[in-house]
């Protein structure tokens, strides 16, 4: 297990974890579309060159071919950037999702924190796209430690997965080791006035927001909702019942992302005041990764304000 405490990018987990799993007896092939250095999958090529297949800059071909490999019993990891995974939607739908094949799409450079390349490279819709494929599991790890656990869980769980990793080095949340379980939220901090629900790099920002709220007399629970699909609806309901107000924070459009899905789930179970911290209905622009998050209002300050609004709305 990774035990580093230094900030690290979630994408850094991919190559080393794949090598470890293959050495441990998994039957992995990696398909790549000329971004193996950036996604870190290229380390697997160095270790297992016959199990690494490049398809060039041709994501559609890569994804359908991944489905073909999977029919032979391989665990197939398909890697590219999040925005380019979106390029192969129809292939994901018919060559992977409908036949429910064992393909794991691990897409790095998710979210606006991709930064300087600007709008074209910033995926603000990938979670919606993959969540629209009903046989896919969709996961956004909170740090590099959890990313490693998620990749291992994917290799051990048959069927299609989408795992979003990120480009920037972010703080490690799970310095004591990962606790990831598919379909389960993880309570990172107890609280009674409001629950902050987050995925990806917004988990660390929610923990920071909870500290600020605590000093202001608001007790905030923090849930890491790395598993977007399946969504832990029971945990949402418990949070709604016990804290009475929710904030959902994500590096994605809220209305089609974790926020929208959580709100839909709670609408039939236990509606409570909810606030959303997500990408507003616009595209991003070139900036450093942290500036890009600020431009979109994806900060711990924004989470604090949203929590205060949610608490104020409680009856």
């Amino acid at each position: 297990m990774t035990t580093t405490h230094a900030p690290a990018a979630t994408r850094e987990a991919l190559g080393p974890t794949l090598i470890r799993l293959q050495n441990a007896g998994h039957d992995i092939v990696v398909v790549d579309a000329d971004l193996g250095k950036s996604t870190t999958s290229r380390a697997f090529k160095d270790a297992f060159p016959d199990r690494f297949f490049t398809f060039g800059i041709a994501e559609q071909n890569m994804i359908s071919a991944a489905g073909g490999f999977a029919t032979l019993g391989f665990t197939v990891f398909a890697t590219t950037f999040a925005v380019f995974a979106e390029h192969a939607f129809d292939q994901l739908r018919m060559s992977v999702a409908q036949p429910r094949l064992n393909v794991k799409v691990v897409a790095s450079h998710g979210g606006v924190s991709t930064g300087e390349d600007g709008a074209s490279a910033q995926s603000i819709e990938d979670l919606a796209i993959f969540s629209s494929l009903p046989t896919f599991n969709v996961v956004v790890p909170a740090d590099v430690v959890e990313a490693e656990a998620v990749i291992e869980a994917a290799a051990n769980t048959p069927g299609p997965w989408y795992i979003r990793t990120g480009r920037p080095k972010i703080p490690v949340v799970y310095s004591d080791g990962p606790r990831f379980q598919l379909g389960k939220a993880d309570v990172l901090r107890e609280g009674s006035d409001v629950t902050l629900i987050a995925c990806g790099l917004m988990v660390d920002r929610s923990l920071r927001a909870a500290e600020v709220l605590d000093r202001a007399g608001i007790s905030a629970r923090v849930l890491n909702m790395a598993s977007i699909r399946p969504l832990d609806i029971d945990a949402l309901e418990v949070a709604a019942r016990e804290t009475g107000a929710l904030v959902v924070a994500e590096e994605h459009l809220s209305y089609t992302g974790l926020g929208g899905m959580a709100a839909q789930a709670l609408a039939t179970r236990r509606p409570v005041p909810m606030e959303f911290v997500g990408v507003p209905e616009r595209y991003g622009e070139s900036a450093t990764w942290s500036e890009a998050l600020e431009i979109m209002g994806l900060t711990s300050d924004a989470i604090v304000e949203a929590a205060q609004r949610a608490v104020a709305r409680k009856a």
């Binding site: 092939v29 398909v31 016959d50 199990r51 297949f53 398809f55 060039g56 041709a58 559609q60 071909n61 890569m62 994804i63 359908s64 071919a65 991944a66 489905g67 073909g68 490999f69 999977a70 029919t71 032979l72 391989f74 129809d90 292939q91 739908r93 018919m94 060559s95 409908q98 036949p99």
Partner: protein, 274 residues
């Protein structure tokens, strides 16, 4: 089983054509034209070329047939049934509620259907993944991918054509059923893609073209050649007639995806020797 030289493919394709028309007439929907044009190609593959076992569709050593033109399920199901993958009477359930015989191909429904299809352009890629995986496993089984000529308009086909040549896959055979008609119109009126043979050759494939896709001997000779190509992917382009076997359906874009009327059904079955 494998190739069974005892099967009379001429009689078999005649029955397959009657199944095709009856299935689409009964379902009141489905694709007759592009099924009729592929009848001899599938008959020769299953009867003379491919290593397969209808009693064990999951046999790991089998050759794979990938139906990329996944709307032409009537010819696929009729051929599988004729070779014993499932009872012929099940063909009557085509496209109806609860059936295994879905409108477009669905992997595993029934056993013997090796891919999901219906959106065009993906079969060559899917088959390429299978063949690369077989090679990694050290298996010398073959992959045969059937595409349409209209389907060549999909960009993904050319991504796969490039990758197959780059990876130097062999025992990988692509087949084009060149019936010259697509959904709305003739292919040449829609998007002139010719010449296909030179394009594939330029991508690094071994290609044979200009072959009569309704002449069983020519089809067998060409597919046997393609099966034995080594070091490169192989392509066979068959000249075919959409709606082959029924006078008023032949070369008629109206019968790409429409069912026959009662009167047309009667006439078609008479022409097909029912």
């Amino acid at each position: 089983m494998v190739t069974d030289a005892a099967v009379d493919l001429e009689a078999l394709t005649a029955r397959v054509r009657r199944h095709i028309v009856r299935m689409v007439y009964t379902a009141k929907s489905g694709h007759i034209g592009g099924s009729m044009s592929s009848a001899e190609i599938l008959a020769v593959l299953y009867g003379r070329i491919m290593k397969h076992d209808p009693a064990n569709p999951a046999w790991p050593e089998r050759d794979r047939f990938i139906m990329s033109k996944g709307h032409a399920t009537p010819v696929q199901y009729a051929t599988l049934a004729e070779f014993g993958y499932f009872p012929v009477h099940e063909l009557d359930t085509f496209r109806q509620k609860g059936t295994r015989l879905q409108g477009h191909s669905v992997l595993g429904k029934p056993g013997g259907v090796e891919n999901s299809a219906g959106a065009l352009g993906m079969g060559l890629s899917f088959g390429l993944g299978i063949r690369l995986g077989m090679r990694l496993r050290g298996q010398d089984s073959h992959v045969y991918v059937l595409m349409g000529d209209g389907e060549q308009q999909e960009g993904q086909v050319w991504e796969a054509a490039m990758a197959a040549a780059h990876h130097e896959v062999d025992r990988f055979v692509a087949i084009i059923d060149r019936n010259r008609v697509q959904n709305d119109d003739f292919v040449d009126n829609t998007m002139r893609g010719m010449p296909l043979d030179e394009k594939y050759r330029a991508f690094g494939w071994e290609v044979r073209s200009g072959i009569d896709g309704h002449d069983l001997a020519q089809v067998e000779e060409a597919l046997a050649w393609a099966r034995d190509v080594r070091g490169k992917p192989a392509m066979v382009i068959f000249e075919t007639t959409k709606g082959k076997g029924v006078s008023f359906m032949e070369d008629n874009p109206a019968f790409h995806g429409a069912p026959p009327t009662d009167e047309q059904y009667e006439q078609a079955m008479r022409e097909l020797g029912a």
